[in-house]
Amino acid sequence: MSGRSIALHGAERVPHSRPEWAGSVRPGHRALLPLVTAEAVSRPESAATAARLTERSREWQDGGWPENLVPLRERAARIRRETLGDLESHLAQLAAKVTEHGGTVHRAATAADATAIVRRIAAEHSVRLVVKSKSMVTEEIGLNPALEADGIEVVETDLGEYIVQLGDERPSHIIAPAVHLAHRDVAERFDALAGERLDHDVTALAGFARARLREDFRTAGLGVTGVNFAVAETGTLAIVTNEGNADLVTSQPPVHVAIMTPEKVVPRMADLGVLIPLLSHAGTGQRMTVYQTLVTGPRRAGESDGPRELHLVIVDNGRHRILGTRYEEVLACIRCGACQTACPVFRTLGGGHAYGAAYGGPIGAVLSPLLAQHEQDRELPYLSSLCGACADVCPVMIPLPDMLVDLRADDAASGRRMSRAGWRAWSALWSNRAGHRVSLAVAAAAARLLPRRFLTRLPVARRWARGRELPDLRGAGRLRRALRRRHRTGDPA
C-alpha cells in the first residue's frame, strides 16, 4: 500500500550538531536547569536567534493590537473561557457530530494510550510511511518515536519541522520550529541530505524541500495532523497552515488521523471567524494565514479524494487536573507562539530547547509543570523576568505572569527540603538586625579572602560560571554603615 520516503532519503548523511538537551526524544533526566540555560545563553547561535526573534516581535507586535482586532480579542477570550466551563458537553457534541459524518472518535487518557491508538490504526492498514502536518500535541505525546519503533517511517512535511527532523531536534518554537537555525545551517543540512551543493537562495531551498516531499504525500499510507480548533456544532476540524501541507496530508493518504487535546473544542463555526484572524495576527503578523483546512468526516461516496477513514484522537494527558483550578485559563491557549516571540528570556536562550519540555517560553513554563510529565519541569516558572510582555501579546488574554508567580509559590511551598530550609534560614537571618549585619560582614570577608573567579574552580559550578563574575562584595554593608553614621551625627542628607 504505502511506499518508503523520498524526503528522508540520505537523512543519515545529515550531521547532528545539536546539544544533547535539544534532541528529538526527550531524555528522562536532564542536567540541572541553571547549567542547561547557562550553556544555551553562551552559545553564539543563541544571540543570532534572539536578534531574529526580537526583530519579528517588533515588526508584528509593536504599536499594540490593531483597532479591528481589539473587540475580537475580547470575544475570543470569552469564547475560550465559556467553552472551558462546560468542556465535557462540548466534547460530547463534537464526538457525536464527527461520528455522524462517518469519522471514528477515540478518547485517550494518557500519552501512551494515544500513541497506542495511532499505532493500532497504522498496523491495521499495514502503513509503512506516515506524512505529518505540524502538530505540537504529537511532540507532547512522543508519537514519532512510537511509530518509528514499529518500523514505520514518519515524515514531517512542514518546512521547519522537516528541517529540525533532519537534525534530530525538537521544534524550538510553537509556530517557527526551526527559528534557532540560521539560513546557513539549513543550507548545510539540505546539502548533506542531497549529497551535493545546492543553490542556497532561500526560495531555492524551500523549492528543494517541496520537490523532496511531494512524492511522499502521494505514497503515504497515513496522514497525521493536529487540530487548531474542533467545532462542536458541526464536527468540523480546522487546521491552520501557510504551506498547504495540511491540505495534502488530509486529502491524499487513504487514512487521516487527527490528534487533539480536549481544550481545542469551540462551540460554533462562527467562532472560527473570531479566532482564526487572531491566531494569524498573533502568530505571524499576517492578516490571515494562507490556508484554513476544514475537515468534516472522511470523503463521501463518489468523491475522488479525501481520506476513506477519519480518526479523531482526543488525548487528555493531564488536562483534567488543570480544569477547575486557578490555572484553568491556561487551557484557553490557541498555540500562536506570540508569548514565546515576545519573551526576553526565551529569546536570550535561543528558543525553547533549553526549557527541555515540548512547550517552551511563558506558555510552556506554565503548562509544562501543570502537565507534570517530568519532575524537573517544576523549575520552569523561574525562567521568566515577569516583565509581562507575554500577557500583552496573548490573543486570549491569559494572565501568564500571575500564573508564573503562583507556580513559584506552589513550588516553594511543596518544595524540595534543601531549598525550603535554605529560604527559611535566609528569611530568619534577615528578619533581625543582628542577623542581617552578620550576613553582610561574612559576605564582605568572604569576598576579600576568595579570588573573584573562584566559582569557576568548583567542579559543579564551573559550567554555570563560565563567562560570569561574582559581584564585588568587599564593600557589603558600607551603605548601611554610612547611613547609620549620618543618622547618628544628624548630618543633613
Binding site: 526560495t203 491540505d247 463555526m269 471567524g273 490571515m288 484554513q292 475522488s304
Partner: protein, 200 residues
C-alpha cells in the same frame, strides 16, 4: 447564488462607513495582490475564457466538473491526473473583500486536489460571490447543506517563513494564485445583479 446583502452579519453596524469605502471588487483585488495573488477582473465569461487561455498557454489543466469552469476552460489541454497538471481551475463559494481570501467547498465535482496539487491555481469567482469580511465567508460555509466533507479558506499562494522567518512564496500548495473575478463592478449595489454569471 442568492443575492443577499454582503454587508450583513458582523459588519451591519458599519453600513454607513461601508458605503464610502472602495467597492468589494476593488478591495478584494488590492488585498489579494498584497498577499502575492493576482486578480483579473473581467466583465463576462467570454473575457474570462480569454484570460484563462492566456494564463494556461500550452500547459496541462485539471478542472472542476462545473458548468462555469467547463465553459471557461473549453479548448484547453485537459488532463485527469492533477499531479501531471500545470494548472488547476476551480470555482469558489465566496471571496472576501477585506482579506483577499477564497472560500472553497469540496464535493464530487470539486475535488480537494485541483486547488492544491498543481503549481498554479486559477479560481473563477462571480462578483456576487464577494462578501465583506472573513467572518461573513465562514457564515457562508457554515450554511452549505449538506455539510461538505471538505472546505478550505485560501489567502494567497502557499508560503513559508521557516528559514530565518523570511516569507517565501510557493511551498507545498500552489506557487501562484490567480482569481478571475467575473461580472460588472457595481453588481454589489444591485444585490442579485449580473444574473447571467450566477452559476450555482
Amino acid at each position: 447564488m442568492t443575492g443577499e446583502d454582503p454587508s450583513s452579519g458582523a459588519h451591519a453596524e458599519d453600513a454607513g462607513a461601508e458605503a464610502s469605502r472602495p467597492s468589494f471588487p476593488v478591495r478584494f483585488a488590492a488585498e489579494l495582490e498584497r498577499v502575492g495573488g493576482r486578480c483579473h477582473h473581467v466583465p463576462d465569461r467570454a473575457a474570462a475564457r480569454t484570460v484563462v487561455a492566456r494564463l494556461c498557454g500550452d500547459g496541462t489543466v485539471v478542472a472542476d466538473a462545473d458548468p462555469l469552469v467547463a465553459e471557461v476552460t473549453d479548448g484547453l489541454r485537459r488532463v485527469e491526473n492533477p499531479w501531471e497538471a500545470d494548472t488547476g481551475v476551480t470555482t469558489a463559494l465566496a471571496a472576501v473583500a477585506d482579506t483577499g481570501s477564497l472560500a472553497l467547498v469540496h464535493d464530487r465535482e470539486h475535488p480537494r486536489r485541483n486547488s492544491v496539487v498543481p503549481p498554479v491555481h486559477i479560481a473563477l469567482v462571480p462578483v456576487p460571490a464577494l462578501v465583506g469580511s472573513y467572518a461573513d465567508a465562514i457564515v457562508r460555509l457554515a450554511a452549505v447543506r449538506p455539510a461538505p466533507s471538505g472546505m478550505r479558506m485560501v489567502t494567497g499562494p502557499s508560503s513559508s517563513g521557516d528559514i530565518e522567518m523570511v516569507q517565501v512564496r510557493g511551498m507545498h500548495g500552489p506557487l501562484a494564485l490567480h482569481v478571475v473575478l467575473i461580472g460588472a463592478a457595481d453588481s454589489r449595489a444591485s444585490g442579485s445583479g449580473a444574473p447571467e454569471v450566477a452559476s450555482e
